[in-house]
Symmetry: C2
């Protein structure tokens, strides 16, 4: 069925296992989460629908609750839309909620803050059931030093040194971001890093975690981490692998 005008704005909250996907964003010839979700919504609507998320997630990165939005004319109730999407989607992508949103709602521009979590498995053997959801790092690390350094990222900083080159970023765009909390903790067999920020640059969380691991190895100290946040020309040490990273929540008004 063809609906002449796209009159509704729908906000969806979705969870996905990023293992099988080349990230969120549509890329020619590659399976991405956006591509799969758009195909399902397009099928329900009967004509092409664009689905825009709060931000891209990299290949292999997971989402507990990503937010995305699209416009459609189909008057299907939101609860039925959620059920229809879950019937059509593969089980590694799940719609947790579908709701009506203001016509101008934009998942990315309206987002006020986001929470990410990164999990580092510290035991010698990584359980098979966790292997796709943690970064396995069984080698010695100075965890108290890492835990202390994790707080250095809080506040307003220029994160240029922690951003991957991103062709979509216009030159001169600010790399300053506000971090409300940035906390590494030991929980059972894991080091868990949680960060709440106004926004994140490409690879920023993975670069912060990679830097904390360098601190844990003794390759960087707090002073050097602090300096990385003052300069725009430098580069942090390392990008930690994607499978330990989860987008936990996107906060709106």
């Amino acid at each position: 069925m063809i609906y002449p005008n796209a009159t509704r704005r729908i906000k969806i909250t979705l969870s996905y296992d990023g293992t099988a996907y080349h990230g969120w964003q549509v890329q020619p010839g590659l399976i991405t989460i956006q591509k799969v979700v758009e195909a399902i919504v397009t099928h329900i609507e009967g004509k092409p629908v664009k689905v825009a998320a709060s931000g891209r997630t990299d290949a292999g990165v997971h989402a507990m609750a990503q937010v995305a939005a699209f416009s459609m004319g189909n008057p299907i109730p939101t609860e039925n839309l959620k059920q229809a999407m879950n019937r059509l989607l593969p089980t590694d992508i799940r719609i947790l909620q579908a709701e009506e949103a203001p016509a101008a709602f934009h998942a990315r521009f309206d987002a006020k803050s986001k929470i990410y979590e990164y999990r580092i498995w510290r035991e010698e053997v990584c359980p098979p059931f966790d292997r796709l959801y943690v970064h396995h790092h069984p080698y010695p690390l100075d965890e108290p030093a890492m835990i202390a350094a994790s707080r250095l990222f809080e506040g307003e900083h220029d994160f240029s040194a922690f951003a991957a080159a991103d062709p979509k970023d216009a030159l001169g765009h600010s790399k300053v971001r506000q971090i409300f909390y940035s906390v590494l903790q030991r929980r059972g067999s894991c080091l868990i890093y949680q960060v709440l920020g106004s926004g994140f640059l490409k690879h920023m969380v993975r670069n912060i975690v990679g830097t904390l691991i360098e601190v844990g190895k003794g390759n960087l100290n707090s002073e050097q981490v602090r300096k990385l946040m003052e300069q725009t020309g430098g580069r942090c040490g390392a990008t930690s692998p994607p499978q330990g990273l989860f987008l936990v929540r996107v906060n709106y008004e």
Copy 2:
């Protein structure tokens, strides 16, 4: 290197994600856990080695701690053997422990009891991260009736009605098994079934859970469940799917 005599008996405790495998047992033309483990041990030993487990697990069934044993001549210390195996194995199979065992140790015949766990996800939406490790059953169930019925399996019973036809079982073999505990509980979003028994027939745990689900649907009552354990000709209602099942532990002396 070829070792002329297999003089050591090695007991390994291993964990695996059964998703990608056609069960434990070697089957021509299919990838099984036994086949992969035997290939690794054979590689380390330099000649064919047979690895015998405490019992077969079905395709898609997981193990937190399966036990298996093999003989080898290679004098590699057990800690190094464990590390070498984990380096060579895919990450969905992990060796948790390798230890020396008496020459006559047999993982199956020496096992005194086993614990299995079965997980039923009860919410409308199954999180992507749990999809391979639960049976998703979001439909109405009389959970108190199921919880009560779960205790009926305790004690010594003839489980013929709960056993899949198994060509490896000689005719006339006893189907009587001792169940020390059999408990269904609600834990968060899951119904968790845990069972400790002297031994289990093919599909027995999945058939018990399938029967409990029939009780939850109102298709069977306690009296009918009790009767199923008294007869040798009958058949229980349903086999629950494999991905919710975990072999938790194998107990020896």
